[in-house]
């Protein structure tokens, strides 16, 4: 059998959205698709599932064409090999758990006994061996979502399509289900495409990240690559970094909208991206003497406490987020509208070609 690789060029216009994304993946890969609301993530997934038709481009899986408007080629959803899991489990309420999971096999002409045997294996692999005969309404939200995953996997899909599969779960359940999902996905030999807006899902589950905004691909890479060099503000925000765009002034200086940012080394090329970790931003009430060269007057905006640290939004020559300890919040008596000085050591500023 040919490798079940995916090669797609997804182009269509739907309402305000213009989707234009190229996509390719190899068997066993787990690809996370991230983007703001309305960026086209779900539409992308639906084109692969066959719930929305492309207007241009094509979808090829394992060498066979699923959709290619130019040649009038089209496979209906039931002729494709996909498994779909949505935020709501959407289990069939009138079927038992095992018959829910067996539904796909039954639809493909497998005998009831074989479908049930397969469903049992899938459910046992997800730790649901003791819930086979109950109705979906008797399941907890985490169990229901795992049953939905088992149902999608029981048809041996070439593409497993997960649309925000954890977003409807409460935080505790989400963590456990994410772990179970991770284990099961690593054993899955097809291609997984995971749409999410939760960076933790993407970073902990995926081996490749794809960022789309307004229907276009803005960045693609391994989690390590993306964290090291985000290409735009949204990507940087997802991985928790301050992101600035500027022009190279010298080997150590970048001009960011009229303000100079100093860094150990500026790469060649005029346009430069700069990232600063929020934890590298220090805050002072008065301008520090003999201060680092990256010192800017800022105004405090929103403050969020997360455990022992606080994330502080700052307005200044450019927007920044600082992460300070809870003790610093008390010492500085931080409050919205307060005027402070922010400093960043040059060695904490990371510049790379845009």
């Amino acid at each position: 059998m040919a490798a079940l690789s995916l090669d797609a060029d997804l182009r269509l216009t739907r309402g305000l959205l213009r989707l234009d994304v190229g996509l390719s993946a190899q068997p066993g890969q787990i690809m996370a698709v991230l983007g703001p609301n309305g960026s086209g993530k779900t539409t992308l997934l639906h084109t692969l599932a066959g719930l929305i038709r492309l207007q241009h481009g094509q979808i090829q899986v394992a060498g066979s064409v699923w959709d290619k408007p130019a040649e009038n080629l089209w496979r209906t959803p039931e002729q494709r090999r996909t498994g779909l899991v949505l935020a709501d489990h959407l289990l069939f309420p009138h079927l038992s758990v095992i018959d829910n999971v067996g539904f796909g096999q039954r639809s493909r002409g497998v005998s009831r006994a074989h479908a049930r045997a397969r469903a049992r294996l899938e459910l046992e692999a997800l730790g649901l061996g003791d819930r086979l005969d109950v109705r979906p309404r008797e399941l907890s939200s985490g169990q229901a979502q795992r049953v939905a995953l088992a149902r999608a996997l029981a048809t041996d899909p070439a593409l497993l399509l997960l649309d925000e599969p954890l977003s409807a779960l409460d935080p505790t359940t989400r963590a456990q289900t994410r772990a179970d999902l991770g284990v099961r996905l690593r054993a899955f030999d097809g291609i997984t495409i995971l749409v999410t807006h939760d960076p933790l899902d993407a970073l902990s589950l995926a081996d490749r990240l794809l960022f789309i905004e307004a229907g276009r691909l803005v960045q693609e890479g391994t989690p390590q690559e993306v964290i090291a060099r985000p290409r735009d503000a949204y990507v940087a925000h997802v991985v928790g970094l301050n992101f600035l765009r500027g022009q190279r002034v010298s080997g150590q200086e970048v001009d960011v909208g009229g303000t100079t940012v100093v860094t150990p080394e500026v790469p060649g090329g005029a346009a430069v991206c700069v990232t600063i970790a929020p934890s590298a931003v220090a805050l002072y009430r008065a301008r520090p003497y003999g201060s680092p060269r990256n010192t800017w007057p800022v105004t405090v905006g929103d403050i969020q406490l997360i455990g022992q640290t606080a994330r502080v939004s700052l307005a200044g020559p450019f927007p920044l987020v600082a992460e300070v300890t809870i003790a610093a919040v008390a010492d500085l008596r931080l409050g919205a509208g307060q005027e402070l000085w922010a400093t960043v050591k040059a060695t904490e500023v990371h510049a790379y070609p845009a």
């Binding site: 639906h46 599932a49 066959g50 719930l51 209906t76 959803p77 039931e78 494709r80 996909t82 498994g83 779909l84 949505l86 709501d88 959407l90 069939f92 309420p93 009138h94 539904f103 796909g104 639809s107 493909r108 149902r151 999608a152 048809t155 399509l161």
Partner: protein
């Protein structure tokens, strides 16, 4: 305070009059009945065939409604065609049409000289009017809209994502309809069936116009009541009570489980 009390009285009086309007006739029916003679009344040769005919025709009507109405409801619920709202309105017409007009319309369509009826007679030798089949036609004509509207309502409430999800699992549209949609809208089908059946049981105007009033052949229970009222009022009351009882039992059975 006083104005509140007055307002409350002002609401209570018409409300209770409304209840009386509905309740007094039904209680009167119970009071006027000759309970001791009931078994004899119901065994009369004019009563038994009418009840049997009503049972047969309404059951047939229900089966036809389910077979035709369920797919129709599904198409209406899911179609995005621009003419669909018009089709939906068209289905509703018999709901508000005076039944006797429905009977005339049926006669124009399937009567011996009717648009379809003439051909049926010439080609197949079938004549529909004034037969038990005509009773079923009349009952279906008035009951089907009730069934379709109730079922379509609950089908439209069904999350569309189930359709797509079943398709990705390999289910054809027919399999999705049969194994996902129909079981999930079972409560809607039950209440639609109850409404349609009750409407068919009570059908009078279209039946008498299109099927006539031949005892044992097209005289259903409501027609028998009407005929008996002049010649044999106690038989009419007995028949009426049977229909009242059956209606209440059906309503009660469905209300607990399905009707809201």
């Amino acid at each position: 305070m006083r104005s509140v009390r007055w307002a409350r009285t002002g609401l209570f009086i018409p409300a209770w009059i409304g209840i009386a309007v509905l309740l007094v006739p039904m209680v009167a029916l119970l009071l006027k009945a000759d309970w001791a003679g009931m078994p004899d009344q119901l065994a009369k040769p004019s009563v038994v065939p009418a009840l049997r005919l009503s049972l047969m025709t309404t059951s047939s009507t229900l089966v036809i409604c389910a077979l035709l109405g369920t797919p129709l409801a599904w198409l209406l619920a899911r179609s995005t065609h621009r003419l669909t709202p018009w089709l939906r309105a068209l289905v509703t017409v018999p709901l508000v049409l005076p039944p006797v007009v429905g009977g005339v319309a049926l006669l124009m369509a399937y009567g011996r000289e009717g648009v379809v009826g003439r051909t049926l007679l010439e080609v197949a030798g079938w004549s529909i009017p004034f037969t038990p089949v005509a009773v079923v036609f009349a009952e279906t004509f008035v009951a089907l809209p009730f069934y379709v509207l109730a079922v379509e309502g609950s089908m439209r409430g069904l999350d569309r994502r189930y359709d797509g999800l079943a398709a990705t699992l390999g289910a054809s549209p027919w399999r999705t309809f049969r194994t996902v949609v129909v079981p999930m809208v079972a409560p809607g089908i039950a209440s639609g069936s109850a409404l349609a059946w009750a409407r068919a049981l009570g059908e009078f105007g279209a039946t008498i116009t299109f099927a006539g009033n031949f005892p044992g052949r097209t005289q259903t229970a409501p027609l028998a009541v009407y005929v008996a009222l002049e010649s044999d009022p106690q038989a009419a009351i007995a028949l009426s009570l049977v229909m009242l009882l059956v209606s209440i039992v059906i309503l009660g059975l469905l209300r607990g489980r399905w009707l809201r």
